[in-house]
Amino acid sequence: MDVGIVGWGAYVPRHRIKVEEIAKVWGSDAEAYKKGLMLREKSVPTPDQDTITISVEAARNALRRAKIDPQKIGALYIGSESHPYAVKPSGTVVAEAIGAFPSIHVADFEFACKAGSEGMFVALSLVKAGQVEYAMGIGADTSQGAPGDALEFSAAAGGAAFLFGGKPEEIAAVCEHTYSFTTDTPDFWRREYQFYPRHAGRFTGEPAYFKHVLSCAKRTMEIANLTPKDFQWAVFHQPNGKFPARAATELGFQKSQWEQGWLAPTLGNTYSGASPMGLSAILDVAKPGDRILMVSYGSGAGSDGFVWRVTDQVTKLQPLARHTRAQLEDRPIYLDYGTYAKFRGKIHKVTE
């Protein structure tokens, strides 16, 4: 039985901060970030936005496309490294907000930046197993970078939601293959009670991101018996602009294949939301018959690979919700560092 995406939707906050604005405060070289990491600006959540609110809005966009009774959703998973509660699920809020309760299985996932694709993987599998009629997988984050740390230039906010189903006439993108590549590689972590995550500097590159993404992509294509030429589109986890561009090029993909899902230069790294949002941006414009390769990456470490085949249904669903890139370009509001620091809870009013 074919299963696949019957609805998708993204959510991008409107606030931004430019690399220059952050660099100015810490005396860093903005050009190095812009050229070296291909980052120009990043999204910033307002104090009233978090992984839960972003997930609700992304889920609602997915439902605007799927147009199914939310009561039929049997499972909902949110992957994030910034769940607002340490103990208490994010997913329960989303399930109630979209009217998909109480007959539903809900869980919050955490696997650094891979948690979103992980939720998608499990949701998809439950539909495939016939356990549930529809299932939703969401990747969303409002990640924090410590002040002055390299991560501060990229840690951004956003998310995407995917609703999976098994009715052929409803599927906009069939999932043809999946594969996961996992090792224990401590390149990035956050201990209990710590506010900011830590990373292992250049160790996050070759032995971490590139090893996992490239291995996962190669093996996924091998299983599917496909080569880069067989894909119209490819999207990779994007902790910055440079890593996915290099990975794609090494694998033999042309820029025209990966540019549409390459959001990081103006969005930043949305962690669990990163490759899912890239996939959402591709589905917004894909044509029936197109193939998409998606490879996520989560520190710790692992990559999930997916091969999607777009169907005729996609053109009907595309106009039903706001496109990912349209949101990205919609009236950005630029912040100075002080307001950004206030928005991110780095500073507080003294009386509170």
Binding site: P47, D48, D50, T53, E57, V93, G99, D330, I333, T351
Partner: protein, 131 residues
């Protein structure tokens, strides 16, 4: 600090905008009531508020009450929804000096506050300007 039950019992309104429509005269109540103040009927059907509307009046709060201090200045408005129901809510993601009566807005799910540093997080609706 208030216990979570007070927050929890309003969830149908705060998350899903559930309202009660008088079965007799059609007046919509948000939140739901037990008796219609127009025709005195006690029969209602459940309905959902429209999620777009326009600003009927607004202000920018610069001196905030306890719990909102970190957020000031912020805009609050009375929004006339497209179904005719009026509600009070914050207007966010906007340039405060460009707000105007009549401006089109749509509802978004947002965090409205938190019960101190360790209490529950409070979610609900705010409005954002439509492009």
């Amino acid at each position: 600090m208030l216990g979570p039950a007070r927050y929890w019992r309003e969830v149908p309104q705060r998350y899903r905008y559930e309202a009660a429509k008088c079965a007799k005269c059609g007046k919509v109540f948000f939140p739901p009531r037990l008796v219609c103040n127009k025709c005195h009927s006690k029969e209602f059907t459940q309905t959902t508020l429209a999620q777009t509307g326009s600003i009927e009046t607004f202000t920018v709060i610069r001196v905030a009450p306890t719990g909102f201090g970190d957020e000031a200045p912020y805009a609050v408005g009375i929004i006339k929804l497209d179904d005719g129901v009026r509600i009070t809510a914050q207007i966010t993601d906007c340039e405060l000096d460009k707000l105007d009566i009549g401006q089109k807005v749509r509802l978004e799910f947002r965090r409205l506050g938190k019960e101190g540093e360790s209490g529950i997080l409070r979610y609900g609706y705010k409005f954002v300007p439509v492009a």
